[in-house]
């Protein structure tokens, strides 16, 4: 593809993981049908989970995981200095993710409970954006490989990067699924940003909001409808807090 006389530039990509399950990193090695082409389009500089190569001459840093220890702050800042583009990949990096749930508990007690009198260092969970400037956010738990591919295409060719202003419901409907509310379950689909292709409702689980809020969501109506369908305030709150994306309305 050279029809606009633009030369292809292979972005030099480094992947760094912080506190998380590394599921997002694993996604990068998934979507096998295009994996070869994906690896051809980029130059992998640093990707600890699948490669022993190490370097720091990268343009793009893909960050997954949240920040939960002081040394991670330093590491992240050093990465920010080197990276031209810093992408927060996954809900942990974008919002803090499930790891952020721990902030609701007393960390000293938590430590004592898990490690007895050998406590480990830990600080309240932060999103990557709380520590450094983030150029691009790709929320999702886990991140969608399709979206990562689109980012790479964007970086290589400046191809359009889809932005999903609308909520999950649209994609859910386009998968011909039965609405979870009809099944008597709670679903955050109406206020959550689309782009995941609604795997949860399609798989029989209401949306838990891992992608954070859609553009300008109608919270008021959503709360009213959740209440009308018989869900307690606690239930709705628990769910909004789950992935850390809805802090603004909690």
């Amino acid at each position: 593809m050279k029809h606009l006389n633009i030369e292809q530039k292979r972005p030099r990509i480094a992947v760094f993981d912080f506190t998380g399950c590394e599921g997002c990193e694993l996604q990068l090695a998934n979507k096998e049908e295009t994996l070869g082409a994906f690896l051809d389009a980029i130059e992998v500089i640093n990707y600890r989970e699948v490669s022993s190569e190490k370097g720091d001459n990268y343009d793009v840093a893909l960050i997954d995981g949240a920040i939960t220890r002081p040394d991670e702050i330093e590491r992240l800042k050093a990465i920010r200095e080197k990276a031209k583009v810093l992408v927060a990949m996954g809900s942990c990096a974008c919002f803090g993710g499930v790891t952020k749930l721990k902030n609701a508990y007393n960390l000293d007690e938590a430590n004592r409970e898990v490690y007895g009198d050998c406590p480990k260092e830990t600080i309240p969970t932060m999103a990557v954006g709380d520590v450094v400037t983030v150029d691009l956010k790709l929320p999702g738990c886990p991140v969608s490989k399709d979206e990562v591919e689109r980012v790479v295409q964007h970086l290589v060719w400046d191809l359009p990067l889809p932005t999903y202003a609308y909520p999950v419901c649209l994609q859910c409907k386009q998968r011909y699924t039965v609405c979870r509310f009809d099944m008597g379950e709670l679903c955050l689909g109406p206020i959550t940003r689309a782009g995941c292709n609604a795997p949860c409702p399609a798989g029989g689980l209401g949306c838990w909001g891992c992608r954070g809020p859609a553009e300008n969501p109608n919270y008021e109506e959503f709360f009213a409808l959740a209440k009308e369908k018989g869900f307690s305030e606690q239930e709705v709150k628990d769910r909004l807090a789950f992935f850390g994306g809805f802090e603004d309305v909690l």
Partner: protein, 303 residues
Amino acid sequence: MCPLPLRSYDVRLESEMNQPLDFNRLLRLKPVAKVFKSEITGVIRLTEMEKLFHIRIIDDAERERFSFLPGQFVMLEVPGYGEVPISISSSPSNKGYIELCIRKAGTVTNALHRAHRGAKVGIRGPFGTNFPLERMEGQSILLIAGGLGLAPLRAPIFHVTENRSDFRDVHILYGTKDPDQLLFDYQYEEWRRIDDVNIQVIVEQANDSWKGPVGLITKLLDNVTIDPNGTYAIVCGPPVMFKFVCGQLSQMGIPMDRMFVSLERRMHCGMGKCCRCNVGDTYTCTDGPVFDYWSVINLKEAI
């Protein structure tokens, strides 16, 4: 029992197509999806944000068949990036190629701005309504543009200047924010020299080198005297401009159905299908983009 009672219909066979659903001939089906492969034969940098592209349909027969009227637009396809509606900015009498003046605004237009001569793009169209210039023959014409509005206005300007004797007084009024944003500044002189074409340019904010008038475009209208019953106006520019300019024209006595504007909306098809440009019952792409001002003010939420 023998299987397959259902017959497969091939829409490409003409005989089938005249059956129950009564649709058109094979040729008609083509431009719906097929793009005319074209080549960028020249790029002229106009300002920081705008470039003029000369575009030529590669296939000889397709090029021969392609014709348009001033005010119409094409869907310009950059494969891989997307398709955007762009007004044709050149003279309709120009057979070999068209000119498109494009502002850097998003993905597709950015990509175009990086393209060089020789790059291949696609064209569908032309689409939409045109300025009814034949109706204006023998009358005076006000051609008014603000900002990027000069791009669509250029086609009628070409038509009028090329057929100068068909019209009475001709005024071209053009305004932008500042002198750096003036489009086609190299052509004003040429237009000015054409017999009896009155061209005035104004900017909202002057810089050191600017010698001309300063202010809003409506200010230029003060210098124009017209015979309201023998005058048509064509106004192109951002929607806010319509209200002021057309309002003033109205006060000058020009009937609203003799003022024509070109509307802009989001578009994805150009064929009155995607509904993105729809305003109530009106499709900007097929019923417009050229509307008389009376229709516009009757169109709810149009401007």
